[in-house]
Structures are given as C-alpha cells and as structure tokens.
C-alpha cells in the first residue's frame, strides 16, 4: 500500500495538478485565470511524461563505461517540444486577451457574454 503511494508519487502529483488545472479552466470567469489553469493542466502532462522516462538510478544518456543504467531520454525530448507549443499557445492567448479587453472593456467572461448576447439578439431585426 505504501509502495503504491510513494512509488507512484509523481503520477499522483500529475493527476492532482491535472484536475486542479482543468477545474480552473472550467470554473474561473476571468480569462487570464483560465489561461493560468490551462498552463497548470499542460504542466501536469509534462510531469507525467518526464516521470515516465525516468529510470531509478539511471543517468542522462551519455555513453560512458562506468555507467550501466540510463534514463529514457525520448519522453524528455518530446516534452521540450510540448513546452514550446505551450509557450506559443500562452502567448497567443494573452495577445487575444489584450484584444478582447480593448474591444469589450473587460476580461470577465460573464460581462463578455452579456455584451455578446445583446449583439446576437440585435441580429435579424431591422
């Protein structure tokens, strides 16, 4: 029992972070906070991948006669790519938020929806 917990601690952390991030994305009305949640959600996946490649006692994959156990570098490399994608997504999202703030004067979802509903309702009426 103790092993299931301590041996898999990284995965428990990853799942907890994933849920926290996901919850923030859904529950928060502030657009910036949504992006923060999205980042936590993505970081959880990064932790998940990095844990998966780690071998206990293994080192970085540099060939040397004195080393016998290596960690798997592939998941780590994949996550480098995913981090770059995450940065691009965050940058784009923040840029959109700046534009939204200029157009609507707010970054609260409820206030934006109110303005949108007025616009939607005015469509189709002369």
């Amino acid at each position: 029992m103790a092993d299931t917990f301590s041996g898999l601690i990284n995965y428990w952390v990853a799942i907890a972070l994933m849920m926290i991030g996901f919850y923030i994305v859904i529950a928060q009305g502030n657009l910036v906070k949504k992006i923060v949640g999205l980042n936590i959600f993505q970081v959880a996946v990064f932790v998940f991948y990095i844990s998966m490649g780690k071998v206990k006692g293994g080192t970085a994959p540099i060939l040397d006669d004195s080393i016998e156990v290596y960690s798997n570098p592939l998941p780590h490399v994949l996550i480098l790519t995913a981090i770059v994608v995450g940065v691009a997504t965050t940058a784009l999202a923040l840029a959109l938020i700046v534009r939204i703030n200029r157009a609507y004067g707010t970054i609260e979802e409820s206030e934006i929806n109110e303005q949108d509903n007025v616009l939607d309702a005015s469509e189709g009426k002369p």
Binding site: V45, P75, T81, A82, I97, A103, I112, G124
Partner: protein
Amino acid sequence: MAEQSNMFLILLVIIPLIASPVCVLLRNATAAWAVSMAVAWSVFGIAIKLVNDLSASNQVLYYRIGGWDAPWGIEYALDKVGGLVILVVSIIGALSLVYAKRSVEKEIPPERIYLFYAMLMLCLSGLLGIVITGDAFNLFVFLEISSLSSYVLISLGKDKRALTSAFNYLIMGTIGATFYIIGVGMMYMMTGTLNMADLSTILPAVADSKTVMVALAFLTVGISLKLALFPLHAWLPGAYAFAPSVVTVFLAATATKVSLYVLIRIFFTVFGKVDVFETFPIQPVLLVMALAAMFIASLAAIWQQNIKRMLAYSSIAQIGYMVLGVAIATEAGLTGGIIHIFNHALMKGSLFMAVGAMAYGAGITTVSDMAGMGRRMPLLMAAFVVGGLSLIGVPLTVGFVSKWALVSAALDAQMWPLAALILLSSLLAIIYVWRVVEIAYLKPAPENAPKPSAVPLSMLIPTWVLALASIWFGANATFTMNMAGSAARHLMGGY
C-alpha cells in the same frame, strides 16, 4: 501491403511551411497572395500526383526523414484514406486562395493582409502534415501548428465576437490536443514506440491493460473536441460565424475532416489489430453522439438568425453523419463516412463561398437579409441552392451519394433504425435550407435596399466550381466511391 518511397510526401509539408515566413518577409499583400497562390496550386498538383501514384502502384507511399528507418526516425506514410483527405484539403486550399484575394481586401485591414496569408499557409502545412505523418507525436505537433494558426485566422474577423470565439476555440482546442498527448504518452508507456505502424503490431499484446483502455478514452475525447463531435462542439458555431469568409470556407471544408481522419487513423490503424469495437465499448457511445449531433444540431440550425452560424450548426450535424459511418464499423459504413468527408467539403465549401460572396456584394449576415436575393444575385443564390439540395441529399447531388452509402451500410449491418433516423434527420435539413430559399426567392427585397455591388469573377468562379463539382460527383460517383471503398477495405485489413 508493399511500400514505396516517395519524396513528394515531404514536399507537401515543406513548401507551404517555407511560404509562410516568405509571406511575412515580403510585407506586401499582393506579393504574399501571389506566393500563396503558387504554393497552394503546386500543393494541389503534388496531391494529384500522389493520388495517381497510389492508385497506380497500390502500395503505401512513405518517406523517412533524414534517412532514419522507422520506428526510430519519423516516418511519413500515405495510404488511400490519406490520399483522399489530402486531395480534399489541397483542392479547397487552391480554390480558397483564388477566392481570398478580393474577399480579404474587403474584410481585413490592408496592413494585416500579408500576415493573413502567412497564417493560411501555416494552417495548410499543418493540416497536410497531420494527414501524412506516420508518427503519433509528430501528429500532435502538426495538430498544434494548424490549430494555433486557425485561432489567429478566426480572430481576424471584423466583428468583435470573432475574438471571443477564437479564444474559446483556443481553450477547447488546447484541452483537446493535451488530451491527445496524454493518450499518446500512455500508449508509449505500454509499447515504447510512437510510430503508428509499430504501435499497431505491439498494441494487441497489451490491449487488455487498463492503461491502454484509458489511453484510447483520452485519444477519443481529445480528437472529438477538435472534430466538434456533439456535445463537444461548443466552439464551432461562433468560430465559423465570425471568422472572415475565406477562413470559414477553408476551415469548414478541411479542419474538421482532418480531425475525423485522425480518429479513423487511431481506430483502424493504431488500434487496427485490436478490433477496437469488439474490445472496448466505443460503438454505442459514438452512435449516440453521432445521432444526437444529427438531430440536435439540425434543430439548432433551424432557429439561427445569422446565416453563417446556421451553416455552422449544419456542419456539426454533417460531422454526425461522418462519425455515424465510422461507428457502424463495417467496410460499407466506413466507405460512407469517408466519402462524406469529400462530399461535405464540396457542398459546405460552395455554400460558405456563396454566402461570403453575398456578404461581399450586399452585406448580408442574417437569414432575413436574404430577402430578394434570388433576383438581386441570381448566380450566387443558385449556387447556394445547389449546395442546399446537396445538404438535404437530393438525388444527383453528392449529398445523395453519401446518404445512400450510409443508409445501405446501416441496412447491411442490420441496424435498420439507423437507416430510418438518417432519413428522418434529412427532413430537418429540408426545413433549414427551405427557410433561406423561401426568403430569397419569394420575399421581395426591401424598398430601400441599395443595389448590390458586382461580385468579382475570382469569387464567383470558385463558388461555381465547387457547386458544379457537387453535381458532377453526385451524378457520377464511380471515382469517389472506388476511392472511398478501397480506402475502407485497406483500413479494415483487406487490400
């Protein structure tokens, strides 16, 4: 199936990818358009060549990047399903660029136009990459290339709601893509490989494990988000309604189709030797979602005022038909789903082009604005009617071919209630198409309506090319049926 190396595969991705920064460096709207135009048409040429090679050799085409053999290196592979999808993407890409020139000049501020073309090229490159890659993680990268550029493209719309739509799409799209990498990661844990062909040989040995089951669930939900499968469709109506006309045409006809292709790839290639539909309870879920999409989205379409939003809801319903074909999971069902990818691209492309051109000429945005359009813009309205008839599934249009294939597949699979529901949902399409047609032809234009400005030929011709294609392939479906049929046979394991 034997394999054949083909260098043109990589060109499909490289050419538009390089064109994108070139457009930025040019800093000139016309020059950027000219470059994109040349690229889109050469990509179309390459796609035709590849499809020709495919049918001539009856082999899977592949290209190994840097000469590294799979599964160590990243491999690009193209089979017949992929061939059909790159054909769809490149036809729509080429025609939307012809259409884009004048449409974009009116809808996007002149100083941003060259950036628009840069993004469009990036999106094209991403979508083609998704189709031809044979590596599960590489697919994620292309997915994000195409998604990030489409968020930007949508946010270029004139209406301020374009910004919120793009933001919502960004949130949903990122969650979808992240779900996808969680799924890929779990598969990698169990198999130690990312190459799709390699995955398919190793997965059967571990298919009983919970990890693989959860991986499949994550993959399905993640891709369904990108696919806008009901009830994960919330981002789509706003995104299509407020994006610039060309962007709507391009995305509606390609982006969701490519996601459906990914779903097919996962079910029938990666999990191809596991028999997903026997091992996992996936069929009832997909069937219910598909049917819900067909009915609820069609009902929602009936109540829309904004005409682009109405067509967007109709797209969600049409995605339902495609997923239905996949969920029937027989060779005939898959053929129906695949052929509808092609057919729906033709009809939705022509419908959105017609609406975009009418918006260009007469500034219409809502269904009631269409009053008198039958007389004011007869050619465009006629193209709209052709597209509309195709949505309903009237004989001699491509819509009929798709529905025929789906209904007969449902009957073959002893799922006769499905056949009845497909026909019933077509009745809903009659209602929302007729609503527009009635207003356009029977209601006179308001007295004070300004005379519509002339729509340039560069917008009229692509609209009619797609409309005529949807009649041509409706009357003579041999080519598309053969292609979809052999693609489905290939996926189901026979050749």
